[in-house]
Symmetry: C2
Subunit: 397 residues, 2 copies
């Protein structure tokens, strides 16, 4: 018998495949030099934060340190929450208020707090594969069952027949992540409308609300004028928006985001109180104060994401030319590419021999693919292309 | 049936008594003016962060934003952890390493992660009353039973007979908080030696490790030359140190701290991995990056705590003169004063009539007292004294 929690030991001793690969990359760089390793493992933004971040931080730290670094309310500074509400109302034509927001310590916190707030005995949460592997960890830790529904392989859009079959009397929520990690797929307004209709039918059939948990760290990261990222509460009332500024402002390490419980959500106040309670029980009260206070000046700003667009186009074109099967992603900064053999891990190992570090898709619940994070320098992508070509030739001749 | 977690709803809808009082204070200030309300409710440091904080933050934000704000390793930046290890080794003559540290998002995170890492079926965690009310929330959320053992009323030191009676085959850990919130008591080296001996006996008797979880946000806040705060791992191997920079550096809102799993702890690697796993499952990977990187330059620094000493002495002297029963605290910034009637809540209400906001002790597991946070301006304390005197006269004539 271990003296520690067996579950936590398992989670902590088996590092995630992504982190494992990242650590391998650091070792490999020490051996063969930075310029010879093509690390596409991590979703760590590569473009600097926009100027508003440095300017606002600089202004803030020249002010009174006691109020700046002091506790805010558990749910976040009231002025910050009001600014978030104003911004959302202006952008999406909604009528949300400061009291619908709960500031969080980043996207992971937004998700664990939301899931723990909703969790009831026997509840199930649907995830659409491919999905961010930690969803399963967060759902099971909250005491619920993670139910995987695969997206359509041709475009990574929702397979409504499969989703419909997965809905039942135990379904408490579905996590939607659009733009998606790892596929880069964006769900269109028509898709969200169809999803909303299906969920409303299921709510009526089973007599209980089914929540959409909208995990939206990539909301702003779309690259084509025609790509619209629908604001889900405008389509479906029972939505919790889990937002993070990590990717849009290139601040992944700073852990700042929010949960929005829109006014029309079923039993709004009970849900909001449960969010407050879960934040308290998990140890999350008061999101980091300085970064909370940076938010109002930076709402709606983004890093220079044109670099990601350039990277996407460069990689899509080259990989397609080499014979890889690529679904061109509309957003986020990931390319989800079919492995050139059925076993993605074996393929990933052969890629490693070319010092190409790509993440096998098994842990995303969608075997047979690899994830390529293109939030890297365009120069590294250019240098990596011969390796991608050589790898393809091993399989395709 | 609620559509949300009943437990989380209860935790979120019933605000903690401390927060409740703080919100009342804000309302009351709006009614009668800031100078007429004596708010002793919150443990929010009132002295500014030391200069090293602003200087270091300023230097950091003028550097490369990509690496500054990027993800660190899940357990924290390696250089930051190495600096923490060096500092602890120099200060306490230990041999800890960077790999014994897990950087956290503040004291609450340190505690919830540690508790979830250790939690096993049927396990119990002992808390010494009076104790910080959230301990009970954190312990039960981790699936363990919170067992209260009262300290001695005359000096708030450990009642070893009571503690001994509480130890059993289910005891997994005991939380030690010295300097203590709310009593301000500091456990001497002799006390910690006696505690260690008692726990070692219990470990031998029950054939399993019993951990000390040392919650140490107030470690540096002691005011007299003769007061020593023992470094518990030097007395007892199976200790997890939960440290936070919130109080020493006056940064409570920034959420930065660490867990130290000392090398000699039983099954050190399993415990450390379980800490990593619990951080992951709760949504805590990567403590806020900017504030992690501020840590090395500020280790061992404190705000100007002479203000707290002055406040303590002023309040102790005055309250004793008015007839209150006061145990002079050696550390932290709280005074734990016997209420002048058995019901502390009723006493708190009568204090409110004088616009004195003090926290009834019931939620600290030690009825009949009130907590006075003296991390306020000395001027406010001076202005509050006639109100304390008038309140005492109502009871004592």
């Amino acid at each position: 018998m271990s003296i520690v929690s067996e579950k936590m030991y398992q989670l902590g001793s088996k590092r995630s495949e992504i982190r494992e690969l990242f650590e391998y990359g650091k070792k490999r760089i020490a051996e063969v030099g930075k310029e010879n390793v093509y690390d596409f493992s991590l979703g760590n933004p590569s473009v600097p934060a926009p100027d508003c971040v440095r300017e606002t931080l600089s202004d803030l730290i020249s002010g009174d340190p006691v109020s700046l670094h002091g506790y805010t309310s558990a749910q976040g500074d009231a002025g910050v929450r009001a600014a978030c509400a104003d911004y959302i109302n202006k952008t999406h034509g909604t009528g949300v208020t400061a009291n619908d927001f709960y500031m969080t310590c980043g996207a992971a916190a937004s998700l664990t707090i939301s899931l723990n707030a909703l969790a009831g005995e026997g509840d199930e949460v649907i995830v659409l594969a491919p999905y961010f592997p930690e969803y399963k960890v967060f759902i099971t830790q909250a005491g619920m069952k993670c139910v995987e529904v695969k997206c359509r392989e041709e475009d990574f859009q929702i397979d409504f027949a499969a989703l419909s079959a997965a809905l039942n009397a135990h379904t408490k929520a579905i996590i939607i992540n659009s733009p998606n990690n790892p596929s880069g797929a964006v769900f269109s307004p028509a898709t969200i409308e169809a999803l909303a209709a299906l969920l409303r039918d299921a709510e009526a059939k089973y007599g209980r609300p089914i929540f959409i948990i909208a995990d939206e760290p990539y909301r702003e990261l779309v690259y084509d004028a025609e790509t619209v990222v629908p604001f889900i509460p405008n389509y479906y009332d029972n939505t919790l928006v889990c937002y993070s500024f990590s990717k849009s402002l290139s601040l992944p390490g700073e852990r700042i985001g929010y949960i929005l419980v829109p006014p029309k959500a079923a039993e709004h106040d009970a849900v909001y109180f449960a969010v407050c309670g879960a934040g308290r029980a998990l140890g999350f009260v008061c999101a980091p104060s300085l970064f909370q206070k940076m938010v109002p000046a930076c709402l709606g700003m983004t890093s220079d994401i044109s670099v990601y667009k350039q990277n996407r186009d460069l990689l899509c074109e080259a990989l397609t030319a080499y014979g890889y099967k690529v679904v061109r992603p509309d957003g986020a900064f990931y390319l989800f590419v079919k492995a050139l053999e059925p076993d993605a891990r074996a393929f990933g190992e052969r890629a490693k021999a070319h010092d190409l570090l790509v993440v096998p898709s098994d842990s995303f619940g969608f075997p047979g693919y690899v994830r390529i994070s293109y939030c890297v320098s365009t120069d590294m992508i250019r240098r990596s292309l011969p390796a991608f070509e050589a790898l393809a030739k091993e399989y395709l001749g």
